[in-house]
């Protein structure tokens, strides 16, 4: 009886699988002459993924494109090469990847197949110098600014103005995020400069040695080692790696200035003056920045390049949304596609993206300007 039951369950599941497979395959079919672009993201779900997919869906008709998605591994090069190969096999003419992993091997595959590669919210730190001259590499748009100096200084200024005196410093390891060292140094330099002229009781103490998180949440021991801190500069993704530890140890009185964002209410309800007020600054990059590699790819595929196309592939900064107070958070909730996941909230309409193409009179300079004009000020002005 049990054996029969097992067989019945298996057959039902197999039939269901075959039907869903056929249904999904059917969805991708009948695309005609659409240009197929493969998108490799390092996550398969979450607000950034939803917003990216919605944005691309919104512009696909106008650009005559269709998009296929794969999830990349953050640490396994062979898996990423396989993912890229499968995208090429499925007929993709261009690839947009968020991971700089096995990039040279993937570019070799692209060259063999006549496919182009672009980067999205990644600085391609490891491979950029080796691949920037490759004709199949169209460049990358960085997750914010390539140099971390400016944000480090901006946070230092905020902390000085907000009046916090004992600052904790937390970042990811240097081998993975080397530019967080620049952030760290710029922050310290700014605070040091302030301390030179500040009265003794106004001086700011910064944690002597920055804590490095090995992609694990902050340890509770941190508070024993740093008992007096009243604010933390979390250069890493503090929403996921620092805030849970603050909550678990009843330390939400410590203010958190950090990179990253979440659409989760447990975060947003504790921002600024709301809730426990732990979060004082959140930062995220706009998914619309994907237009940089996308337009560069489409130009290459259609054989029509910008008149001012640079001689080598570029690593382009993108503007970020910095949320520093409740009013700005409300604006993000109302107007940002990252939060709403709706294409109607996008910074760009489909026809505006189409106008960026070389065949429609676009220029490289114009394209760069667009991806660098999506700041909080731009959001407020919309």
């Amino acid at each position: 009886m049990k054996k029969t039951l097992r067989k019945i369950i298996s057959l039902v599941l197999t039939a269901g699988m075959a039907l869903s497979c056929a249904a999904f395959a059917g969805c991708g079919g009948g695309s005609g002459a659409k240009i197929k672009i493969g998108i490799g993201l390092y996550q398969d779900q979450g607000p950034a993924v939803t917003a990216t997919r919605e944005f691309l869906k919104g512009i696909s008709e106008e650009l005559n494109c269709e998009f296929t998605y794969v999830t990349l591994s953050q640490t396994d090069e062979a898996a990423n090469k396989t993912a890229a190969q499968q995208l090429i096999s499925s007929g993709c003419k261009g690839l947009i990847l968020t991971m700089d992993s096995a990039t040279e091997a993937i570019l070799e595959e692209c060259e063999k197949a006549g496919v182009y590669l672009g980067g999205y919210l990644a600085d391609y730190e490891t491979s950029f110098d080796k691949v920037k001259d490759n004709p199949n590499f169209v460049g990358t748009v960085v997750d914010g600014r390539y140099s971390g100096t400016a944000w480090g200084e901006e946070i230092a200024e905020r902390i000085i103005n907000d009046g916090y005196k004992n600052i904790g410093m937390i970042k990811f390891p240097s081998f993975a995020f080397p530019h967080q060292n620049e952030m760290d140094a710029a922050f310290r330099a700014k605070i040091e400069e302030y301390n030179k002229t500040a009265a003794d009781d106004e001086k700011i103490t910064v944690q002597a040695e920055t804590t490095e998180l090995m992609f694990q949440p902050l340890s509770a021991d941190y508070f024993s080692a740093n008992p007096n801190i009243d604010a933390i500069f979390g250069m890493c993704a503090g929403v996921d790696f620092i805030y849970p530890t603050l909550t678990q140890n009843n330390k939400t009185n410590i203010k958190l200035y950090t990179a990253g964002f979440s659409v989760d209410d447990s975060v947003l309800n504790n921002f600024g003056t709301s809730g426990n007020g732990c979060f004082q600054e959140l930062v995220f990059s706009n998914v619309e920045a994907i237009v940089y590699p996308l337009v560069m790819l489409l130009n290459k595929i259609e054989g029509k390049e910008f008149e001012d196309t640079p001689s080598e592939a570029q690593r382009v900064d993108s503007s970020q949304i910095r949320i520093t107070n409740n009013e700005e958070l409300d604006i993000v909730k109302e107007k940002s596609m990252y939060y709403t996941g709706k294409f109607e909230n996008s910074f760009l309409t489909a026809s505006e993206v189409s106008d960026l193409l070389a065949k429609n009179g676009g220029t490289h300079e114009g394209l760069v300007k667009v991806v660098q004009s999506m700041s909080m000020e731009d959001l407020k002005a919309r």
Binding site: L13, M17, S20, G28, E77, S89, A113, T126
Partner: protein, 330 residues
């Protein structure tokens, strides 16, 4: 009357339905592979069989096939080795270090081979000496190798390391890959079907106590079986490295589970035993690689791919789990 029933039963076992019943898992596994080929040929709009895709299928199959063939000896005993993924990662990194400093592929391979053999011996022997399930020793190795992999990469100051002074891509040539797969396949086929190694490992899987009472030195053959797998791990690490010419903290991490899936998809029972066959590894590997490749080529959504793989895994486990004890690998 009783004789008549027995005779009737015997006839029915040797008849058409008897053959079907005896070979039910083989039939399911072959049907699975055929089904994958048919479905994906249609849904991928022919992309499955274009020259480029065939070359990447060979490239992907090579590593999995060599590992699955080696794993056959371990799985046929009803055991498993969850350290194989991190072992592959560490071996790839070590080979890069050796190649970059000496340029000698032979030295790199021999070093890795010796390490793999030692790990095999450790997995097979220590579990017996300490009276532990062999999965515990392989878990121990997994943690140790995972730590070593992390430290080795961290010491480079980067999140990955590449081969600089040697053209490792020569091993990514389809002809070389096919040749090596064939050679390994022939050796494993012979060892598994015509030598004591294959017979004893299957006997251990079927009933270890009986095998021991029949005079089989089970400890010795367990060690040899794990070492045989070690040889295959060393060979596979060369081809894994040849794919990208680089390695990082996560290189190889998914292989332990992937190999288990390959073997199970081939119709091999988790509990090993006499129904373990070389074709389980061959058919399972081809099915697994085709499944991953075909689903992506067919434009199936990422989340759906995960669900489909999980469903297939569940189906196979339900179908192949033996009634008697329903034991998982020890």
């Amino acid at each position: 009357m009783q004789e008549a029933i027995l005779k009737n039963k015997s006839n029915s076992q040797s008849g058409f339905w008897g053959i079907i019943k005896t070979h039910i898992f083989d039939i399911f596994s072959v049907m699975g592979l055929v089904l994958c080929v048919i479905i994906f040929t249609v849904t991928s709009a022919g992309n499955l069989w274009n020259a480029y895709n065939i070359s990447i299928l060979i490239e992907t199959v090579c590593g999995y096939m060599i590992l699955s063939l080696g794993a056959l000896f371990v799985y046929s005993m009803g055991f498993m080795d969850v350290s194989v993924g991190v072992q592959l990662g560490v071996y790839s990194i070590l080979m890069i270090f050796i190649l970059n400093s000496t340029g000698s592929m032979l030295l790199a391979f021999v070093t890795v081979l010796v390490l793999a053999l030692l790990c095999g011996a450790f997995n097979g022997a220590v579990a017996v000496w300490l009276g532990l399930p062999s999965i515990v020793t392989s878990l121990f190795l997994m943690f140790v190798f995972g730590g070593i992999q992390y430290i080795l990469i961290e010491r480079t100051g980067s999140n990955m390391i590449s081969v600089e002074n040697y053209d490792i891509s020569r091993f990514a040539d389809s002809k070389i890959m096919i040749t090596v797969m064939l050679v390994v396949g022939i050796v494993v086929f012979y060892a598994f079907n015509f030598t004591k190694l294959g017979k004893y490992t299957k006997s251990i899987g079927a009933n270890e106590k009986t095998a021991a009472q029949c005079g089989v030195n089970t400890t010795l053959w367990k060690v040899i079986a794990y070492m045989m797998f070690g040889v295959c791990v060393a060979i596979a690490s060369v081809f894994l490295l040849a794919r990208t010419g680089s390695a990082g903290k996560g290189t190889g991490s998914t292989y332990a589970m992937d190999i288990m899936l390959c073997i199970i998809l081939g119709g091999m029972p988790l509990s090993g035993g006499m129904s373990s066959k070389v074709r389980c590894a061959v058919i399972g590997t081809l099915t697994y690689v085709l499944l991953s490749n075909g689903l992506t080529l067919s434009g199936v959504d990422i989340q759906t791919i995960h669900i489909i793989k999980a469903v297939i895994f569940l189906c196979i486990v339900l179908l192949t789990c033996r009634n008697k004890g329903k034991i998982l690998p020890r």
